[in-house]
Symmetry: C2
Subunit: 276 residues, 2 copies
């Protein structure tokens, strides 16, 4: 029996790929986080401590990874100074939102990114905000790690989808994250009705996201197309000072004279609905 | 226009319902956490700090909530001593696994539990392990809070389903949590094939849980009934010392001489599969 090629080429014990969550106020509207915002607000000590010990990173954006490391350094000294940190960016193609299929074609590039792990270095995978490889394109790197025999270890931190699910009061025992819905209004209406009928049949909560400038459009479409007895929740600015969660039946939403008023719809939003 | 009854009866500003995550090693096999295990391993400072300030709780089990508060107190002094903490238990019925519909019938009891919030006290909702109202029955309390006008605020902490999803390398841009599958082997086979065909059609990752003593049975059923090209991942003992994640195609799993050997299948497990 011959060994897989990567084992022949890299005889030493591989490092671990740590999945390192980042604060949710990260890169928000391109602005820096509030000066009083500390990484300890979002991340347990163990996550900060592992992050401070790493010096090889894979990220969507090297600039925001350096900003993240500065916030880590404010709590725990980094093992290597910022200018000695190696930060490799995920290939651009993998950034396309909701497009997991094309990301699968990137497995070859993902393997190349893991070369330091095969040489024995521990590495960190980070996303722009929250948990890497959840609602973002990082999973090709994680798949490549499994293929190459690089151990994968997820670290605890914020997952906005689950904060929203818990806060919604909707069914947390059956749920689905559907990502983005179509922008064409007819297709969107069809998709929302399809998801709602799934939910009525199975009790499954449906979770959606949208880019902030389309939040109001999506919320209006949800109010227009869902059944009156369906519960609709929107979580805005999760974990930020202005955080708001509203969870009511569509009937109750519609009974408001101005259903959208009072909601900070310019903030990152998560939309949830279901039959409960 | 008349005000809702609860506003007449409780004229003061309600407290906030905080959703307080707990460590994942909690209540594991009925044993106490390892002595070296600290709450800061799992929870950010802000979560610990809010928890330490509360004295009204809603939980599945008062005993484990007191154990949690002892771990919080080891990091940050509690605003009120343990013996002055008010801990109300969720009605037993709501504990039935995966049964969200019957939990909906408990909305009346859930409202009663929120009486302290209506009197102005901040409250904490905790689950046995991880994020309350995700994969556990706490959502009836959250729904009741929204109905009563009690603000809901989720706090950051571990969500085992998302740690597993990230670690699996499966599609994190479309996924569903299906809870438990049927115990009858024919029904289970049918359900697994149904979930797999959904996944092949949509790219959606399927996430399942099982009680530890049935982990091996479920894993065998997955290996038997899924297609060879489907990727199957199992995460065991998430966040614990012994943590293991294995993610391979079913073909690769089957090619092992003893596919289940070397896996600590007595630990809490999360199973994931999908077409990527």
């Amino acid at each position: 029996m011959s060994e897989p090629a990567h084992q022949r080429a890299h005889p030493r014990t591989p490092g671990t790929l740590f999945l390192v969550p980042t604060p949710l106020d990260f890169g928000l509207r391109g602005s820096a986080p509030a000066p009083e915002s500390r990484a300890t607000q979002w991340l347990p000590h163990d996550t900060l401590s592992v992050a401070a010990g790493l010096s090889h990173w894979i990220s969507e954006n090297a600039k925001s990874t350096r900003a993240f490391l500065k916030r880590v350094a404010a709590e725990i000294p980094l093992a290597k100074p910022l200018q000695e940190q190696h930060i490799a960016e995920l290939p651009r193609l993998a950034h396309k939102k909701g497009d997991h299929a094309s990301a699968a074609g990137l497995d070859v590039q993902a393997r190349a990114l893991l070369a330091p792990a095969l040489e024995g270095h521990d590495m960190g995978l980070v996303s722009e905000a929250g948990m890497p490889a959840v609602a973002d394109p990082g999973s090709s790197v994680v798949r490549a790690a499994h293929t190459l025999g690089v151990p994968v270890r997820p670290l605890v931190g914020p997952v906005s989808l689950m904060l929203a699910l818990a806060a919604s009061g909707l069914n947390g025992q059956q749920f689905a994250f559907a990502g983005y819905v179509p922008q064409d209004s007819d297709e969107r209406a069809r998709r929302l009705r399809e998801l709602e009928s799934l939910s009525m049949k199975t009790g499954q909560t449906q979770i959606l996201i949208e880019t902030p400038y389309r939040n109001a459009t999506l919320l209006q479409a949800l109010l227009q197309h869902l059944q009156p007895q369906t519960r609709l929740a929107v979580c805005l600015g999760l974990g930020l000072g202005q955080q708001v969660t509203r969870s009511e039946t569509v009937r109750q939403w519609r009974a408001r004279s101005e259903p959208l008023s009072g909601l900070p719809l310019d903030l990152p939003a998560i939309f949830l609905f279901g039959s409960s």
